[in-house]
Amino acid sequence: MTIEVRNIVKEFGSFRALDNVDLRVETGELMALLGPSGSGKTTLLRIIAGLEWPDSGVVTIDGEDALAHGAAERHVGFVFQHYALFRHMNVFENVAFGLRVQPRKIRKSEAEIKKRVGNLLDLVQLGWLADRYPSQLSGGQRQRIALARALAIEPRILLLDEPFGALDAKVRKELRAWLRNLHEEIHVTSIFVTHDQEEALEVANRVVVMDKGRIEQIGSPGDVYERPASAFVHGFIGESIVLPVEVRDGRVRLGDRDLDLIAQDAAAGPSKLFVRRHDVAVGPSGSGVFEGAVKAVRAFGPMQRADIVLGGLGGDILIEIDAPRDHSLKVGDHIGLQPQRYRIFADR
């Protein structure tokens, strides 16, 4: 089932939540909508589900005009951030709800409903909780029940709104891997919304990065991390060192210094230099474009993180870098820093 979204505009009062958004999701994809709060990602998801209506634009699901139908007729599975389980029904009845409200003509028999709910509870590995009420479950269990409930109607597509947002870090990590495996098993076209870049990069096979109601970049997790299309994407995904520079005559300048860097395709004018923290080579003083003094070192895992004060740039600039543990860094050392990979984007 493909999903296609074209020229979607949605305003809340004077706030433009979605500004001409185009998106195509292919059959069997697991796509992440990633962006800060207010970027429009949840609104886009709710429009596809039919819980919100766009001011203009087109939404098709499997080539069929989705906007001709309300949420109840779209056969879209929707999973809410706060689960939205029916609090007065037990787990079995929650999952069975979508089957029980089907028109009488196509409604399954009680035995079939029982069998299907049983299968779904097995799928989410919570068959033993069938008689419990939502209030007796943990957050992670509730979200898996919510997923089973959404899958009960055999949805054409599955939409998840910040599915792990309300869970604590450990459960979130477990559920991420679990969702990935589940998707490989059932292969329903899925979109999930998240503001957590790690979650998006780890779970999705394609990532849509959004900001201020627009799509900034669509690509594989590797793409958006290694080849960010804009300053926003570079800043939002992964941790970067950002320095304000100026591009003039194809040269990159910081303050009154000419940096020995290539301007790439940034237009002349004020720009930003982005370098990943681990893409900085550390050497003896004089070995790089920048000179700095080590101010603090924190070692954990395979890397060490150091605070460096960059000198000679007209005012001190404090940056953080990640260096391998085998390179000894001590507070007070004067070092040379060379960006090995970097991007320069003109300010908008």
Partner: protein
């Protein structure tokens, strides 16, 4: 100090609540159970009880439907004039019941807006059962809506959205998701609404006309009997109203626990 405060509170409660309550029942039974029962079985008393039940039944029914609709609209949707509507719902609480009654006299009285037209068509509203029902409905309108609005607002609309995305129609969603979630709050509102409807005096007094055996409700009959120095009969009817109050209190306490459970199920 603590004992002093508790003692003061208990004394106050005894003097102003418990003693009068005991007095009502002891006065009602002053001439024995037989007299008490015959006072209640009196034609006028029976007529008043019947009228009170009719007025309360109709007004509670109407306010149940209107209250749910109004609370639904206010809690689940945003529309212009919402704040105004909330204020309007509170109006019967802030206006003296006597004025509420006078409003209906102005509307349906002989010199009122609709009075001449109604008279020409032979429709009797004022000084008859319709006016009593209308006045009671007006005065008790806020109870159900006021109880449901915060409850529905706190519950949000995600469960409804979930139901609809699972293919349920609006009607099915209301019956299977919304109503079960608000049922205790709804019952609570109905209970208070009913207690007030049966006990309403001011507004009903203005529109009733005090026709004996026809347009007297229980509170009105109590006043009439009292003014005629029929103490035992007056207190016999009053004891029924007091009994209603006691039952209301007990059920109310039970319901409050249920509502709390429905709002914060995680705590249990």
């Amino acid at each position: 100090m603590r004992l002093l405060i508790i003692g003061f509170a208990l004394t106050f409660l005894t003097v102003f609540v418990v003693l009068p309550l005991i007095l009502v029942f002891s006065e009602a039974l002053a001439k024995g159970v037989a007299f008490y029962l015959s006072a209640l079985a009196d034609d006028e008393a029976l007529a008043a009880i019947k009228l009170t039940l009719i007025a309360a039944g109709i007004s509670v029914g109407l306010n149940l439907v209107f209250g749910v609709i109004a609370a639904w609209a206010i809690a689940k949707f945003d529309f212009p004039g919402k704040t105004f509507l909330i204020t309007l719902i509170d109006l019967p609480f802030s206006v003296s019941p006597v004025i509420s009654g006078l409003v209906f006299v102005l509307l349906f009285g002989a010199q009122g807006w609709f009075g001449p037209w109604l008279m020409a068509h032979g429709v009797q509203i004022l000084f008859a059962v319709p006016a009593i029902v209308l006045a009671t409905t007006f005065v008790t309108f806020p109870f159900v809506a006021r109880e449901l609005i915060p409850l529905m607002q706190e519950q949000g609309q995600q469960e409804e959205e979930a139901a609809i995305s699972l293919g349920a129609s609006g009607w099915t969603t209301f019956w299977r998701v919304t109503l079960p979630n608000i049922k205790w709050g709804l019952l609570y509102g109905v209970l208070l609404c009913n207690a007030r409807a049966m006990g309403e005096f001011g507004a009903v007094s203005v529109v009733s006309g005090h026709i004996r055996g026809e347009t007297n409700t229980m509170p009105l009959l109590v006043e009439i009997l009292y003014n005629e120095y029929q103490m035992v009969a007056a207190f016999a009817i009053a004891s029924l109203l007091a009994l209603l109050a006691l039952v209301t209190l007990i059920v109310k306490t039970v319901l409050e626990g249920r509502i709390e459970e429905g709002l914060h199920p995680d705590d249990h």
